[in-house]
């Protein structure tokens, strides 16, 4: 009975949603030209495959996200351990970093790093973007990782100590694997956020997916078609990532 109700609710909701979209689509005094979108993904010149600008944008977005993800995890780890360290100065430093980053908009951080800090160090736009994204997502990962470590039972540390494991090995072999297993779903969510947040690097003229989209729109005014296509690209990247992480999660479950 309950099951049937759920199905009914879901189908009603979906129907209303589809109806709203269709009505909006029809009422918008806008001339849809979907046929013009395909060449921006790829085309064939003399039988050779040529990647369109949107695919190039996907590649740049992927590159920025991948590098930032690794750096964000490293930053997050370091900062989490700093917040749990016995040294007050380290704890305060890490706390300041996390709170500053988490309580200011990413857009402003990107601007500050690109227009204020990077001229001093002579960094490229790409480097500035990677630094900004890594610091931003690192601060969030730091909190996730810290909570994961706090949640590991004290007995685990004591057991490791009693069999005489050195500190590094304790963390490497006992703490970190358990922490990862607990926090993986949250870290996955964070990495999806990172990919979406990377859209903001278009503001400092990096030719990522969003920037390429903006560029095509400003040249052709295929506004809605291109933005829908760009949204689909993001969706496919994040969906793939989520799928991979879910596979890793199930793997880890069997190891335990």
């Amino acid at each position: 009975m309950k099951h049937k109700k759920n199905i009914l609710a879901v189908s009603v909701f979906t129907a209303v949603l589809i109806l709203a979209v269709v009505i909006g689509y029809k009422n918008l005094s806008y001339n849809w030209q979907w046929y013009r979108v395909a060449p921006y993904f790829f085309s064939f010149e003399n039988g050779r495959f040529v990647a369109g600008v949107l695919l190039q944008g996907v590649w740049i977005t992927f590159k920025i996200s991948a590098i930032s993800l690794v750096l964000a995890l490293v930053t997050g780890m370091v900062s989490a351990f700093a917040r749990l360290s016995p040294y007050v100065s380290l704890r305060v430093l890490a706390w300041c970093y996390v709170e500053t980053i988490r309580n200011t908009p990413l857009l402003i951080q990107i601007f500050v790093i690109y227009f204020v800090i990077s001229p001093v160090l002579d960094l490229s736009a790409f480097t500035s973007a990677v630094i900004a994204l890594s610091l931003f997502e690192g601060a969030y990962s730091s909190e996730i990782i810290r909570s994961g470590i706090i949640n590991i039972p004290k007995g685990q540390f004591e057991a490791a100590q009693s069999i005489g494991l050195p500190v590094f090995a304790t963390y490497y072999k006992v703490v970190v694997p358990q922490m990862l297993r607990q926090t993986l779903p949250m870290l996955a969510g964070q990495s999806v956020s990172l990919i979406k947040d990377s859209a903001l690097v278009s503001t400092i003229s990096i030719y990522d997916l969003t920037m390429q989209g903006q560029k095509i729109v400003s040249e052709t005014f295929l506004t809605f078609e291109i933005w829908f296509a760009v949204a689909l690209c993001y969706l496919s990247i994040t969906a793939t990532l989520s799928f991979i992480i879910r596979r890793i999660e199930t793997r880890m479950r069997f190891v335990s």
């Binding site: 005094s29 227009f115 903006q214 400003s218 809605f224």
Partner: protein
């Protein structure tokens, strides 16, 4: 024997004739009723889409909008006997905003181009502008022709979605473009010496070079394009095109446009307003 099918078709067509005539008459009426001109008079306000461009439209010290474009829109509203409401919009999204009815007309120094014209209708030009450049003294040392900037080593910053972007693509196909949402970011990039030049509609580049004479210079004496500027309105509205066109023709004839252009583009008397 005569063909039954043909007879029936003929009869049907004859019966449909008055209906078709009615519809034809209706179309003209309906178009007029649906015209944005009608809507403006009903609402007693004309909503104008624009974006900040010195000296077309900018904020003065009190935060009020001033500029060439603003004067034109205010005069237009006065002649129509309605109030004017300015809707500041990001330049890269201004055409979609017009198409989806966020405002009635774009009066924002918009150059008439074929690509834009496929999506919106333009009035007859009320102004002509041209592209000009401001370059970095150190990075672009000795550059004095268009060809000097057309090499792989050159970076040029422009505002996204402007005719400046198109001009830069056309005249400097070898240079790499850095696109920004705002003029100020593009100029910041130039001041930091990360790009060789900024391309933008005259007279802004010259003004900017005058502000930082030790860092920047104007490499070309003349503007390197000439482009017509028109109001943009939604497609399928002949009444609006007719009304605005005739208003513009009148303002050319009365000297209003010429006088405003002289004040905003050839003099610097307005600088005290914004500083």
């Amino acid at each position: 024997m005569f063909n039954m099918k043909k007879v029936l078709t003929a009869v049907g067509l004859i019966l449909l004739m008055p209906l078709a005539l009615c519809l034809a008459g209706e179309t003209g009426d309906r178009l007029s009723k649906e015209s944005v001109i009608e809507k403006i008079q009903k609402d007693k306000v004309i909503r104008v889409g624009m974006s900040t461009f010195v000296p077309w439209a900018m904020k003065d010290k009190q935060g009020k909008l001033v500029g060439f474009e603003i004067d034109v829109a205010r005069q237009l509203a006065k002649d129509m006997g309605v109030d004017v409401e300015f809707v500041p919009t990001a330049w890269s999204g201004i055409i979609p905003a017009l198409m989806t009815g966020k405002f009635d007309v774009i009066i924002g120094g918009m150059g008439i181009t074929a690509e834009r014209n496929l999506k919106v209708n333009f009035t007859t030009p009320y102004d002509y502008s041209g592209m000009s450049m401001v370059a970095h003294r150190k990075k672009a040392e000795g550059f004095s022709t268009l060809d000097d900037f057309n090499t792989d080593a050159v970076n040029i910053a422009v505002r996204m979605g402007t005719t400046a972007e198109q001009a830069a693509r056309k005249f400097f196909p070898h240079a790499s473009l850095r696109l920004f949402e705002n003029e100020s970011q593009a100029l910041q990039e130039l001041n930091l010496g990360r790009v060789h030049a900024v391309v933008s509609s005259a007279p802004m580049p010259v003004f900017h070079a005058l502000k930082y004479p030790d860092k920047l210079f104007v490499p070309l004496e003349e503007n390197f394009t000439k482009e017509p500027i028109g109001f943009a309105i939604r497609k399928g509205d002949p009444d609006a095109v007719n009304f605005f066109n005739n208003w513009i023709i009148n303002q050319h004839a009365s000297g209003f446009l010429k006088e405003k252009k002289a004040f905003w583009f050839e003099s610097r008397d307005w600088e005290d307003l914004v500083k």
